[in-house]
Amino acid sequence: MGLAVLLLAIAFFLYRAAAPALHKLGWSFVYSSVWDPVQDIFGALPVVYGTVVSSFIAIIIATPLSIGVALFLTEIAPRRVGRVVGFLIEMLAAIPSVVYGLWGIFVLAPWLRTTVEPGLKTALGFLPFFQGPAYGVGMMAAGIILAIMITPTISSISREIFSAIPQPQREAALGLGATRWEMMRLAVLRSSKRGIAGAVILGLGRALGETMAVTMVIGNRHEISASFFAPSTTMASIIANEYSEATSDIHIAALVEVGLLLFAVTFIINSLARLFVSRSGNR
């Protein structure tokens, strides 16, 4: 109850601070894509696109990786190894995001530029996602950094869920002649579907709001491009980039409106994900 009031209060505060932009720009704020602070023209479509797509890439990479890690740690690895590796992975969550960003600039981006992106271009260049010049920094770098950052979240929750499954369930599966992989699929994964989905949603929440690391590697360009090599920008990073130096009232209001939009996008994606989970759970 208190939480709902708090959420409403935040939304109301954002709405009030964004009011000048809401009145002046109207709906064009959501669907237009020019962002020109000099002429007070603000369109948020590219930043919404950048946020959603970079988080989506992160989820695509991080989900199978995290589930694999969690399965390995609970089902396959000897207990002592599991504890050490689990600890190391959780350590990843403790690294400050600016450090991820620096690592992204100095290690990940050059590697993407010289090795990964040219390779992808030759192998999958017929797809629009893998065309255009390779800068290293861009949507793909941001997606990969985010994937690394949310893997500890998803994997440690999944691990807790897997270890909560009663041992007899596994033994029953093995007793019916299942192989180890079949046992994991039938006895472990199937019964923890909802829990895994919850873990993924939590990871997605972090990816949508992550600011510093993404800003440092995404290239900060207000443009919608199909290619993952192209630079882009996100809602959180544009606020961090421009708020401290914004002086015109409409510019500040537009940035707050981006915050309001981020609030809305996060809310919508979370609700959709919950709906999806409860549907698939009933079946």
Binding site: I105, F106, T247
Partner: protein
């Protein structure tokens, strides 16, 4: 126990005795300002100055809302902003900064030469190759190849403000299509966050051209281009050539010092530079105001000697006289 209590009382008493002055604003002059504040405390132990380097925009906002006693900004306030002030505001120029073009062109370790119109066309995306005839003409005997990758600041900053102001002066096309501002709609290129973001991208990407503060480039031993100035001479960025630019602009200096000195006159002038300002009210309460006025005078006179060791360009001598007169005009009531 008693002893600690007494000690505590003495300490809090001492803290109350000092006159606390709060300021906020520009990040660019922060290293010099913090040096000034600590040096000034040796002169007047009663005055303690706190400064938050939150950015020029934030500094102006907090100053206007009177949460701080003085503001600091890399670009002068606009007429529109000044009109909103309840009491007139003084701009006190403190030192000068410059913006340099840093590059990563294989085969050119240093000494790249550029001119204003060429830089503008590169940042507009009209010149996209290093072997363009206009670049070649400025650099005879140097072999340049490959694509140009433009790198700009993604965060709003005074550095971008000075740089875009320069481009607007040297290119009509830039002025009409992009304009001047701390954050603009860049036609091409990648955005890096802060000086470190831009320099990181430039270092990592062959063929790139970006801009950073002179101090940042110097401290990190980065190569930067020599620029053709208004007099047609090539000027290298240095504290000397920046002060020369300010001296060149002195003739037409308005009374409130709100002036752009990019593309300045003078054969030694470096073309991309600007003042950084402290913002104060022209009427201040007696006690605090007297402390602020005393500090300002010290900063523009004796304080200037701390500028050069930190790579800031000091104010030209003739300007110091004018600024001191302005500070004397602040009313204490």
């Amino acid at each position: 126990m008693k002893k600690t209590l007494i000690l505590f009382l003495i300490m809090t008493g001492a803290a109350q005795a000092a006159n606390l002055i709060n300021g906020a604003g520009a990040t660019f002059p922060f290293p010099l300002y913090s040096k000034w504040f600590s040096e000034y405390q040796k002169i007047d132990a009663n005055v303690q100055i706190n400064y938050q380097s939150i950015g020029s925009g934030g500094g102006i906002r907090q100053f206007m809302e009177k949460t701080v006693d003085f503001g600091a900004s890399d670009s002068p306030m606009s007429d529109e902003q000044l009109a909103k002030a309840s009491v007139p505001i003084d701009h006190i120029p403190t030192v000068l900064g410059a913006v340099v073009l840093t590059y990563n062109v294989p085969g050119v370790e240093k000494g790249l030469k550029l001119s204003g119109d060429v830089i503008a066309d590169i940042f507009l995306g009209k010149i996209a190759k290093w072997d363009d005839a206009r670049i070649a003409k400025l650099n005879p005997g140097t072999k340049l190849t490959g694509d140009v990758l433009v790198v700009h600041r993604s965060d709003g900053s005074g550095t971008s403000g000075i740089f875009t102001d320069y481009l607007s002066k040297v290119s009509a096309d830039w002025k009409s299509k992009v304009g001047t501002g701390t954050a603009v709609n860049w036609p091409v290129g990648l955005g890096g966050k802060g000086n470190e973001g831009v320099s990181g991208l430039v270092k990592q990407t062959p063929g790139s051209l970006g801009y950073v503060e002179l101090i940042y480039a110097k401290n990190n031993n980065m190569a930067y281009a020599t620029l053709k100035n208004k007099a047609g001479k090539f000027a290298e960025a240095s504290t000397g050539s920046v002060t020369a630019a300010a001296a060149g602009a002195l003739k037409n200096m308005p009374a409130d010092f709100r002036v752009s000195i990019t593309d300045a006159e003078g054969k030694d002038a470096y073309p991309i530079s600007g003042f950084t300002y402290l913002l104060v009210w022209t009427r201040m309460p007696k006690e605090k105001g007297a402390d602020i006025v005393k500090f300002l005078k010290w900063a523009v006179q004796d304080g200037q000697k701390f500028a050069e060791p930190l790579s800031y360009a000091p104010l030209p001598k003739a300007l110091v006289t004018k600024v001191s007169a302005k500070i004397n005009g602040i009313a204490l009531e």
